[in-house]
């Protein structure tokens, strides 16, 4: 016998965006239910212990984009969230050298000069260009994208705001903006830098999570997307959520429950229920049915509409557009329990740059080649990875003296090619282990003998990300962050303001503006639209830049 209950609003999925929406709605006085298919909450912002004594940030692994407006509004620090900035970073070469990214400005200058004396000034100018663009974009993150075809006063005023901000940029900077939105990260870096190693170190931010290569147009924006976060206002800084990324969703859940919200785990959505073009509730896989006149999906746009909504409820053009929405999976993840800190022979003893993001890809050509492998359905033979050991500064995730390592791997295909056949079903245990072997082989470049210290490893292909987290094809952004899928085109033209063809049904996840990353902005923006529609628009804070 299933559960039958009525709420003011139901959120499908307990990822950071779903919970963000849920929090704002609950604070506005709505009775809100969050349903989650897994036995745990968090979506892709999750901390799980799979090896006794160790905790992983199983999916997303570093924090910068989470908007500080949201952290403050929802009192997340009071509910346990602590974000600690980390320093440094490095790219290791095959020859036993490295490029170290020092937080110490003077040391960074010297290190850049060691690679190429011209790159010191180049880095300064590059940073200026990036920061200027970030300053331009940031105010739009917590605003609903205007509909350029609409004459509604609100859309017009949002468009005007955009024009005004663009005007504030100046002619040269606006030219730069257009280049940023359209260029490849490799071309952009080639214009600035001399050193291959420096270029390769920076370029990773342009491809992480993206089914594009460093020479693909549009990747310069992806880099920008990774830079526009901040830790306490320091734009571009990254940090660890103390206790792993799950502590973000745990804090959101605690905030939500303190406002009277309800979370039900363990059964996913079977179907969004509609009647006469209006949403009426959700039916869960376990047979439970919950009713509400507002239903918001934290799932990506494809999963929401292709898997869980009756196609007959949707305009066919919308369905076509949703099917075309690019959600190519391109990355894998390996989380590792280590019995000691690995040895980095190239690095000085106790080097602080080891507490940042570490890589082993040493040129743009190498990165592009890694992409070539992915295109034909194989994981990169020389993969790019973003590898961190948070336990150097987070004492909560491994026993003292032991360490946890998070390795984000680019590229890994969703539909793996085996014997001429491309299919996600090819991801079996053997393939997964082969994938991990390939990554650890490459890692020898930085920390030889790392395998001797591995107590446990969680290896995740895009297929596992889809199966467990629910991200279609394992795309970590719930859809590519390319210009054709941003702003008023995200996810579908005409439906970029969190509303859908079904009355009362909303999208609140990263498939919507401004996109992926543990930002919370889609969730907050969606909450604003929902509250407007239910006549509680004034409950939502107005943000000023």
């Amino acid at each position: 016998m299933g559960q039958h209950d009525t709420f003011d609003a139901i959120i499908a999925g307990s990822g950071h965006n779903g919970l963000t929406t849920a929090c704002y709605l609950a604070r506005a006085g709505l009775r809100v239910l969050v349903v989650e298919k897994n036995d745990w909450i968090g979506g892709a912002a999750v901390s799980r212990s799979l090896h006794d004594g160790w905790t992983y940030s199983n999916c997303s692994y570093v924090c910068s984009l989470l908007r500080r407006e949201i952290i403050r509004d929802l009192e997340l620090p009071r509910f346990g969230l602590q974000v600690i900035p980390y320093e440094g970073g490095a790219t290791f070469t095959r020859e036993g050298d490295y490029f170290a990214y020092y937080s110490d400005h003077d040391a960074l200058n010297r290190e850049l000069a060691r690679q190429n004396p011209r790159d010191v000034d180049a880095y300064e100018r590059f940073s200026q260009a990036v920061m200027r663009q970030c300053r331009f974009i940031r105010p739009f993150l917590l605003r609903t994208a205007p509909d350029p075809t609409s004459l509604k006063p609100r859309d017009l005023s949002e468009l005007l705001y955009l024009v005004k901000k663009a005007n504030d940029l100046g002619a040269r900077e606006l030219g730069e903006t257009q280049r940023f939105w359209t260029m490849s990260i490799a071309d952009f870096l080639d214009e600035h830098f001399e050193s291959d190693l420096v270029k390769a170190h920076i370029a990773g931010g342009g491809i992480i999570g993206t089914g594009l290569g460093v020479y693909s147009p549009g990747t310069a924006y992806v880099l920008l997307h990774h830079y526009m976060g901040d830790v306490d206002g320091t734009i571009g800084a990254w940090g660890f959520a103390r206790g792993g990324m799950g502590s973000i969703t745990q804090a959101l859940a605690a905030s939500f429950e303190s406002s009277g919200g309800t979370i039900v785990t363990g059964s996913g959505i079977d179907q969004f229920l509609t009647k006469g073009g209006k949403v009426t509730g959700v039916a869960l896989e376990n047979g439970d049915v919950y009713h509400a006149s507002v239903v918001a999906s934290n799932m990506d746009v494809r999963r929401t509409f292709i898997n869980h909504t009756a196609e007959s409820d949707l305009p066919s053009e919308f369905v076509t557009a949703v099917k075309r929405f690019k959600t190519r999976g391109s990355s894998g993840k390996i989380n590792v329990s280590l019995d000691r800190f690995p040895t980095f022979p190239a690095a000085p003893d106790g080097a602080r740059f080891l507490s940042g993001d570490m890589h082993c890809s040493t040129s743009l050509q190498e990165l592009e080649k890694a992409y070539d492998d992915w295109k034909v359905g194989r994981w990169s033979q020389e993969p790019y990875f973003d590898m961190l050991i948070p336990t150097q500064i987070d004492p909560t995730m491994a026993p003292p003296g032991k360490h946890m390592m998070t390795v984000f791997v680019q590229y890994a295909p969703y539909d793996l090619e085996v014997d001429g056949v491309r299919s996600p079903d090819n991801w079996n245990e053997t393939q997964r282990q082969a994938f991990a072997t390939c990554v650890f082989d490459k890692m020898e470049q930085a920390c030889p003998g790392i395998r001797d210290h591995i107590l446990h490893a969680e290896v995740r292909s895009p297929y596992e990300l889809e199966q467990e987290v629910g991200l279609t094809e394992g795309n970590i952004f719930q859809g590519e962050l390319t210009f054709d899928q941003l702003l008023f085109n995200r996810p579908v033209p005409g439906y970029a303001q969190y509303r859908t063809p079904i009355d009362g049904m909303y999208l609140v996840g990263s498939s919507t503006h401004p996109g992926g990353g543990v930002m919370g902005a889609p969730g907050a923006n969606a909450a604003r639209e929902i509250l407007r529609d239910v006549g509680k628009g004034q409950a939502m804070p107005v943000y000023t830049d």
Binding site: D97, Y98, A100, Y102, D104, D106, A107, N109, R110, E111, A113, R114, P117, R118, V120, D121, A122, E124, R125, Q128, M131, R132, R135, D168, L169, G170, R172, E173, R340, F341, T343, P345, A346, A347, P348, D349, G350, A351, L354, Q392
Partner: protein, 401 residues
Amino acid sequence: MTDTSAARTLEEAVPLGLIPTVFQPRLEALSSAKSWMGWAGYQSAVVIENMEFEYFAIRNQSTLFDVSPMHKYRIQGPDAEAMLNRMMTRDVRKIRPGRVGYTLWCDEEGMVIDDGTLFRFGPDDFRLCCQERMLGWVLDAAWGFDVQVTDESDTISGLSLQGPTSFSILKDAGLDAAAALKPFDLAEIEPGLWISRTGFTGDLGYELWMKNADGLALWDRLWDAARDWGLKAIGFEALNLARIEAGFIAAQVDFQPIHSTLRLGRGRTPLELGFERLVDFEKDHFNGRRALLQQRQKGLRTHLVKIELGGFKPSNGALLYHRKTKEVGHVTSGAWSPTTKRNIALAELKAPYGGQVQDDLWAEIYVHEEGQWDRRLVPVTVQTSPFFSHPRARATPPRPF
């Protein structure tokens, strides 16, 4: 956190944090204040012993300030003059060999990238000294010219010997050939030792330039010669007070070098900084010429001016008002001047204030005394000449004190 049993003793590939200049061992020994700051990655003194006494030594006896962290770019070759004339707003051809020129350079929009001093060793041999790192820009500017650019920032050391008795010290150190130097003259007084009659204090003074390896010996030589002339090593704070008195501007303080500004419109042109005399529209094209010509016609956005204020409280950061109501600018560098006994400042005002409109200007100064904040509105008058100017600074041959 890392494993130490492996007994690895690798050094970082580059030093971390601040590194010492050649003179740091001497400065360290003299320093009782132990007050240091970073300057272009080098450890630099804020105060050595006591700011007031260091300041008065500048105006009364002599002082040594370590200027080694300055960025220094050697530009040599048959096209060196042409290249620099293209880069700088002033006519570089007029700086003859053996002379030093104060100069500014701009981007194509006429915004100041930095200011500095250009040393001309010979017809085809220059050194540019400046506050901001400039290698990339100088290399870009050198494109298409037959010149060689060398970054000497880390290989050449500099000492600024400033004060009324500074020549006497040079003389007793056996460097009396410097007697012939007029202000802004430059000469190789001994092999490898170039001395210019320049400085940042507006007083009699010299700058001595040498290879790093020769630095400490020269320091000791000056120090031995200075026994009767009251030499003090000084830090940045004393120098900064003297430079405000002299009316000199400082990058990142009185103007924002355009390459390090994020926000549009925060850069300033040489005209807005009051250096029309250092912009030569008659010479061939130079970076920013078109934009500066246009601005000269359309009018300036701001005026950087010297002001005198009422009251005795230093005005750093104070907002300026016209008729006590309309906010029209702010103080960029303010200080009570101990030598001239005036309350002085450099200030930026929105045009036409500070330019055509100079009457009825006021400054709002916040004063914090023993836990209490107090707001004072004091009158402001615009000045045209340096606050401190003394004939001894210009006398050639120089006076003994």
